[in-house]
């Protein structure tokens, strides 16, 4: 959206945050897709985010071609199968077999668990999802899976309830989330802005997650002004927007100033465009 600048018709038009970020994001592409930094080899996570943010069919086609035989999306490094972008890719794909296979992969691959351990307290009954196959569950990949199921396969109640249970189990004292552990060696870990925003994005408009959302919002309101990195701000904006909270306006203003500096990496940039533009509706779940 363009509108006259504050000085009237002779001054350059003010461009919206979405326009600015989308234009920069579009310039960062590598062929049809996106790498983690401008011009880098394409990868599933930035491509999925950009496909949603820009409503980009070429990026979606690249994603489809990048789907692995097991339905997942990610990076492979020898025996390490990172499948953490699978939830995001499912959200980016149009209805069809590819999307369903991505969701089937998530159903089949919850995280690995360890026995109960007072040093790292956790409930082994709610494994969540990990960054890589065969490893422990963490907040970000679990929230992605939660959102994908809620939007695309709402009948997957076992998975949805499990993801909410994971987020409840790993909630920090006072609300919000660290990376996934709530306490280590009897020390409560603090919440982080980016991971708290991630949890809120997964939980927005979910009745069973209401208490978690309240605590998360309190934490995020404290954290985003202090942390203020581009990815934190972008995901905070997405979270506040999805929750319908007016905090989004202040975050958007901060992001606008961020774009005046060095260009963020492509993942952060895609989240800015996604959070500030029409693509956010692709992440929204009706109450």
């Amino acid at each position: 959206m363009l509108w006259p600048g504050p000085g009237g018709a002779d001054t350059p038009p003010v461009r919206s945050l979405y326009e600015r970020s989308a234009e920069t994001l579009d310039r960062a592409r590598t062929g049809d897709a996106f790498g983690p930094t401008p011009g880098a080899e394409p990868e599933p996570e930035p491509t999925a985010l950009a496909a949603i943010a820009l409503d980009d069919d070429a990026a979606r086609r690249w994603l489809t071609d990048a789907q692995r035989p097991d339905g997942s999306f990610g990076l492979t490094a020898g025996p390490v199968e990172n499948d953490a972008p699978t939830g995001l890719a499912a959200l980016a794909l149009p209805p069809g077999d590819e999307r369903e296979r991505a969701l089937d992969h998530l159903v089949a691959t919850p995280a690995r668990t360890l026995p109960p351990d007072p040093v790292v307290p956790h409930d082994p009954n709610v494994p969540g999802w990990g960054w890589a196959l065969g490893t422990a569950g963490w907040v970000e990949p679990t929230s992605r899976a939660l959102l994908a199921f809620r939007r695309l396969r709402p009948g997957a109640t076992t998975q949805i309830d499990g993801a909410v249970g994971f987020l409840a189990d790993r909630e920090c004292v006072g609300g919000g989330w660290n990376f996934g552990n709530r306490s280590v060696y009897y020390v409560d870990l603090p919440p982080f802005g980016q991971t708290t925003a991630t949890g809120l994005i997964g939980l927005h408009a979910l009745e069973s997650g209401y208490g978690l959302v309240l605590g998360g919002v309190d934490a995020l309101r404290r954290l985003w002004p202090v942390e203020g990195g581009p990815l934190t701000l972008a995901m905070s904006l997405a979270a506040f927007r999805l929750l319908g909270l007016s905090d989004a306006d202040d975050v958007e203003a901060a992001l606008d100033r961020t774009l005046d500096g060095p260009a963020p990496d492509v993942i952060a940039l895609a989240w800015i465009a996604l959070a500030s533009g029409p693509g956010l509706s692709e992440l929204a779940v009706p109450p």
Binding site: L75, G180, G228, D265
Partner: protein
């Protein structure tokens, strides 16, 4: 063969070797382990008699640039005409404590390395606990300090990656995908904070190499490495990164529940070295810990570097006379009292945290 060529050609040897990894969290009795030699002998030169220098440095307000330059000269650093990557520890940021390598030391090292003739120098880190690297760089003050000395920072979590086959196989990883800036640098200088570590006993120049492993593949907080066996992964990753130089920031270190939730402790030292095992072994002594009881130091001392104090040439202060006894968690109390400590190398590995 230079370092880049070595890393890129590494696959030739690795392809002909059987994997002898230990799996996630496995604990093998020490005696049996001694029978294993899970590394390629011809990929590692014979252990020598490396120089290590312990320098007494009371604070970050002294002339750190000269201190670092002299320290590197004393241990025989050769940087003229070579590209240098500084790898400090910025795993996350907390203003209340001392998680990170001090930014003043990093900036001083940039200047010292230039004085020593390096063709280029960049500073790089892949924070393990934060995806938002610009936040860590800014909030910690590193960005401002690097701006003052005109140094570039690279986020190793996002940099292009190169496959590096492993010549050590304490884990079953077999290979690592490391950031191109790490692989391409002529010299990597590991610059850890001197800290205790709640899973590994201590985190020094070898453990600091976890920050070279990109989060977008191995996750945040690099949990794949913990499932592979934390102490085993420290050895494998360090033997892949092979930091040619080490500068341990022990001016103010961290004791107790390190590497994140510990307590600042004024140790008043910098430790310089050209062998990560010798440097970490010496730094452990400075911390009042028995290096023979730190599993990854002990194991790496079999092939990667020199862990035998009798074979390490101390060219600075006597490490024992420079000792500040770091508090440790009860599980590592034996490190302070006996030679056979070190605990279970796989304990709590699966839920552990990252490159701190």
């Amino acid at each position: 063969m230079d370092r880049r060529t070595f890393l890129r050609r590494a696959g030739i040897v690795a392809a002909g070797s059987a994997a002898v990894g230990l799996g996630a969290g496995a604990a093998i009795p020490g005696l049996l382990r001694r029978l294993d030699r899970p590394w390629d002998d011809d990929a590692f030169p014979p252990l020598g008699r490396p120089k290590v220098l312990v320098a007494r440095v009371a604070s970050y307000d002294v002339d750190l640039e000269t201190t670092v330059e002299e320290g590197l000269r004393e241990v025989g650093a050769s940087l003229a005409g070579r590209s240098v990557l500084l790898k400090p520890n910025f795993v996350e940021y907390d203003p209340e404590t001392v998680i990170n390598t001090d930014p003043r030391l990093v900036a001083a090292t940039v200047l010292a390395v230039r004085r020593l003739g390096a063709s280029s120098v960049l500073v790089a880190e892949g924070p393990g606990h934060r995806r938002d690297t610009p936040f860590v760089v800014s909030a910690s003050g590193l960005g401002e300090r690097l701006g003052e000395v005109g140094a570039r920072f690279v986020d190793l979590n996002l940099a292009p990656v190169t496959r590096v086959p492993l010549h050590a196989r304490f884990t079953e990883l077999g290979e690592l995908w490391l950031p191109a800036p790490v692989v391409d640098a002529d010299v990597v200088i590991s610059m850890p904070k001197m800290k205790t570590h709640h899973w590994a006993g201590a985190t020094l120049s070898m453990k600091n190499c976890f920050g070279c492993v990109p989060g977008r593949i191995y996750g945040w907080p690099k949990n794949v490495l913990h499932w592979a066996g934390l102490q085993e992964a420290i050895v494998d990753v360090a033997s892949a990164v092979r930091p040619e130089l080490q500068i341990v920031d022990g001016i103010v270190g961290m004791e107790g529940n390190g590497p994140i939730d510990g307590t600042p402790v004024q140790a008043g030292v910098l430790v310089f070295g050209t062998d990560p095992v010798a440097t970490d072994s010496t730094a452990a002594v400075v911390m009042g810990l028995d290096p023979a009881g730190i599993w990854h130091v002990s194991e790496a001392g079999r092939f990667l570097g020199q862990a035998d104090p009798e074979q390490i040439v101390q060219v600075g202060e006597d490490p024992e006379r420079s000792m500040t006894s770091f508090d440790v968690l009860p599980v590592f109390e034996d490190l302070k009292t006996g030679p056979d400590g070190g605990g279970d190398p796989g304990a709590h590995a699966g839920l552990g945290d990252a490159n701190a």
